[in-house]
Symmetry: C2
Subunit: 149 residues, 2 copies
DNA sequence: AACAGGGGTTAGTTAGGACTAACAAAGTAT
DNA sequence: ATACTTTGTTAGTCCTAACTAACCCCTGTT
């Protein structure tokens, strides 16, 4: 179901509106599958979908969708940028993992990306400095000192 | 299904033999679920299971189980040791992700762990040095030189 | 105004994977 | 040897999430 929410959010961003057909193609499922998913999501108060019309998200649905997207993007970045996996594969893995990873691990992974970004010149002691970063939310003094500007 | 194979391999390691009851408790499912899974796996030639008897793996089943275990252990190590996730959560995430991660990403993750382990004093330029490590299978000269012995 | 054709829906199926209830085999104790 | 307990199995049900086939809406063309 999260996939459907995510697809709606992305389509509305890319093409202004989300329709059954677009979702169907994006998700690689048939239109009846989309229709039935939308009915369920509508029952749960997450999407708005009047018959034969456009699809949009309720506030609650949007919150969920944005959260999935956040996870997706972080995972994709991790695989592609950090681990050097090709974009296609990284995206696919993000798509599957985003639904099963725990909040705790997700949080750590996000922090790891921040840590990488924060590291002056990419130089660091890993995982020692990362541990410090986790605890204090910033790099240790001696690490920052090495980075003028 | 991979979970069942994995459970058999682990139980045979821990308690010498795998039985339905043990698998049931380890996997958190009822015994009928185990029985029915075993029938399927047996049909596919992956496990050997005579009624009311012990459960074991065929060569092919064992190969698959060992592969899942390898993935599981690498993922758990990554979450726990690299990212600093608590053991419990790391294990749970490994359990779920091991079934959906692509071979490519799994390979990179494994390499990342090797990279971490190989890094003298844990000091490195990430991700630059990691990229070098990926390409050449070892740390660059100037990095090794800093590590006497 | 009729009518194609694409988008959308409904109805009905299938497959996987879990569950409960009830029964059968094995093991253990008296 | 028999009765009880534990372990396993069978049968039948449910739920989810996909699918196909067949039927609706809508719009643009002529």
């Amino acid at each position: 179901m999260e996939d459907y929410l995510e697809a709606i959010a992305v389509l509305r961003g890319e093409e202004k509106v989300a329709r059954v057909n677009g979702m169907s193609r994006r998700l690689g499922v048939t239109m009846p599958s989309v229709t039935s998913a939308l009915r369920k999501l509508s029952d749960r108060g997450l999407v708005i979908h009047e018959k034969y019309g456009y699809v949009s998200l309720t506030d609650e649905g949007n919150k969920l969708a944005q959260d999935v997207l956040r996870r997706h993007r972080a995972l994709a970045r991790f695989f592609c940028e950090a681990l050097g996996v090709d974009k296609r594969t990284g995206e696919e893995d993000a798509c599957r993992i985003e639904h099963v990873i725990s909040p705790v691990s997700m949080d750590r992974l996000t922090k790891f990306l921040e840590f990488m970004a924060a590291c002056p010149f990419g130089e660091t002691k890993f995982p020692e400095t990362y541990r410090y970063f986790l605890e204090h939310g910033k790099l240790p003094q001696e690490c920052l000192r090495r980075a003028p500007k």
